[in-house]
């Protein structure tokens, strides 16, 4: 943009940030005109640090943003080709609808001041008008991608059989109500809210419970209400394999999620500090340990090092360290990851045995390992562990389950009784892509070359 526009921008819309022109060589963080004083210098330093905080928080948000692509790939890869378009659309809508809904209501409920139960103002970023503080913007985008992440967890667990319309109602309900309400209890004070749970000293640095368990328990409710995919279990209830259609997608998705998770965890400082180093180390070690543990567990109990279990293991390690990434040591992170990796394998088998069909293992990865991570954040607390700390952690874990599972179970039941939640067997067999979207993920190349076999 031209210099003209930039200063214009700053003047009109944003608190004077003369630094915007730094590269032009003119002094900027300090008012050029008069000689620097100790006070002006001090203020300038704070301003530069503040710029760094904005930079880090925004970059972290951008990293978390890409996790949507990771979820799309892992979910599409671990399900069948005939439903790939539908999975992608669901993830895209979690993000798109989610962003709009969180802007309209979610953020206000989660971070607005309120009666202690949830926020009641600050909708549509209205606080900017009053405060003129751009921090609101960077904080909002960081929180928005978190909300979208919570929403997208359910998509995998209900894959291959859920009506697209119903799914969108769910997305609006979760990002607009269920997630922000619980969030206000644990994280409200990060902005203008304040919740009873954080008041107790609940430790959930980046959201093992607030984001992942809430999403995971919502997924559990959904999977129970909608029931398993046709043919997923034999008449006498034994599970039948229903292999995903592309494990390369699943692997790529896992790497992208791991990549984004550095922003998810380390970004939760929302400040450019040295704390981010330890957090990133813990995140990486726990994920690595999770992958190894899941692989070994699968190898031992299921004969082969199953790739999908190993992938789940890496994610389990990531979910597991999310709560405690800032208050445990690297050594503890390895233990947390190892446990999560083993746990996720048994959890997947458990839900299979209970005939709860979760094509991608979302319930086990996010729900179960989210709970484990929240507990571990207390158990391995570098500051020492007390019964009080453990107690508070358990309260948070239980409340999250009760809140998310109950509200979503009721919601899904109601929707099922009214609009219906599941597609017809005919559609399920043919695939949701054709019926819901009129698309096919993989064009019948022979039959489309020179559009043969197609009549306009």
């Amino acid at each position: 943009m031209s210099r003209h526009i930039r200063t214009f921008v700053s003047r009109i819309l944003l608190p004077v940030s003369a630094a915007a022109a730094a590269w032009l060589g003119v002094p900027t963080v300090l008012e050029a005109q008069d000689a620097p004083t100790l006070e002006s210098t001090a203020a300038a330093i704070e301003l530069v640090q503040r710029h760094a905080d904005f930079l880090w928080t925004l970059l972290a948000a951008i990293l978390v943003f890409l996790m949507q692509a990771g979820f799309s790939l892992i979910e599409a890869g671990m399900t069948r080709a005939k439903n790939a378009v539908n999975i992608c659309m669901k993830n895209l809508m979690d993000l798109s609808m989610g962003s709009l809904v969180f802007w309209l209501v979610g953020f206000g409920i989660m971070f607005g001041p309120g009666g202690g139960w949830f926020g009641t103002s600050g909708f549509m970023l209205s606080d900017y008008a009053t405060d003129q503080d751009p921090w609101l913007y960077v904080f909002w985008i960081f929180q928005t991608v978190f909300a979208a992440t919570a929403a997208t967890i359910v998509s995998g667990a209900m894959a291959e059989r859920t009506k697209f319309t119903t799914y969108m109602m769910y997305t609006v309900f979760l990002t607009g109500f269920v997630y922000p309400v619980f969030g206000s209890w644990a994280w409200g004070s990060l902005y203008k809210g304040g919740g009873w749970l954080e008041g107790l000293g609940f430790i959930d640095f980046a959201g093992s419970t607030v984001v992942h368990s809430v999403g995971g328990w919502a997924a559990l409710a959904g999977a129970i209400v909608i029931g398993p995919r046709l043919g997923r279990f034999t008449v006498d209830g034994r599970p039948r394999a229903m292999p995903g259609h592309n494990l390369v997608y699943a692997t790529l998705g896992m790497f992208i999620l791991w990549f984004g998770w550095f922003g998810f965890n380390a970004g939760s400082t929302t400040a450019a500090t040295m704390d981010i180093a330890l957090i990133a180390v813990n995140t990486n070690l726990s994920a690595a340990a999770g992958a190894v543990a899941a692989m070994v567990t699968a190898w031992t109990f299921l004969k082969k090092p199953d790739a999908t279990m190993t992938i789940n293991g890496a994610l389990a390690g990531l979910v597991g360290i999310t709560a405690g990434c800032a208050n445990v040591t690297p050594g503890a992170s390895v233990l947390i990851g190892l446990t999560a990796g083993a746990l996720v394998v048994f959890s997947v088998l458990f839900f299979d045995r209970r005939q709860i069909d979760d094509p991608v293992g979302a319930i086990s990865v996010h729900g179960v390992c989210g709970a484990w991570g929240t507990l571990a954040a207390g158990l391995f607390n570098a500051g020492g562990v007390t019964l009080a700390i453990i107690g508070v952690q358990l309260v948070g874990i239980v409340v999250a389950f009760l809140w998310a599972f109950t509200t979503m179970f009721v919601f899904f039941k109601l929707v099922d009784m009214t609009f219906g939640i599941r597609v017809s067997p005919e559609e399920e067999i043919a695939g949701l892509d054709a019926f819901e979207h009129g698309n096919e993920a993989y064009g019948p190349d022979t039959f489309s070359s020179s559009a043969a076999g197609i009549t306009a």
């Binding site: 054709a434 698309n439 039959f447 009549t455």
Partner: protein, 112 residues
């Protein structure tokens, strides 16, 4: 010896397979095919252009059988592949001169 080819709906393969085994079939060869016929595909649309997929996914199940069990095999197809809706498919029966099992070089019925 006869060759029986059944064009069926893909998702019914499992039950057809079982029915054929019950009729005494030990081996079969399956091919993914596209079928054109009375059944009309779900109208699709791509970027606003509507189109009907006229060639629908089917499976062709080929079985070589001894005359003796021919009728049972045909009935197996009818029993397992029938939904009563357009698109159930067809069974074709054609003559066969000889069969050879590559592994043992046996010929004729014993090679089936």
């Amino acid at each position: 010896m006869k060759k029986v080819e059944g064009i069926i709906r893909p998702h019914l393969l499992e039950s057809v397979k079982t029915a054929l085994q019950d009729a005494g079939v030990v081996g079969m060869t399956v091919t993914e095919v596209k079928g054109f016929g009375r059944q009309k595909g779900q109208p699709e649309s791509y970027r606003g252009t509507e189109y009907k997929v006229e060639f629908l996914p089917k499976l062709k199940v080929e079985v070589v059988v001894a005359e003796a069990i021919l009728e049972d095999v045909v009935s197996a197809f009818l029993a397992a592949a029938k939904t009563g809706k357009f698109g159930d498919g067809k069974v074709f029966v054609s003559p066969l001169d000889d069969v050879i099992r590559i592994r043992t070089e046996e010929r004729g019925e014993s090679a089936i």
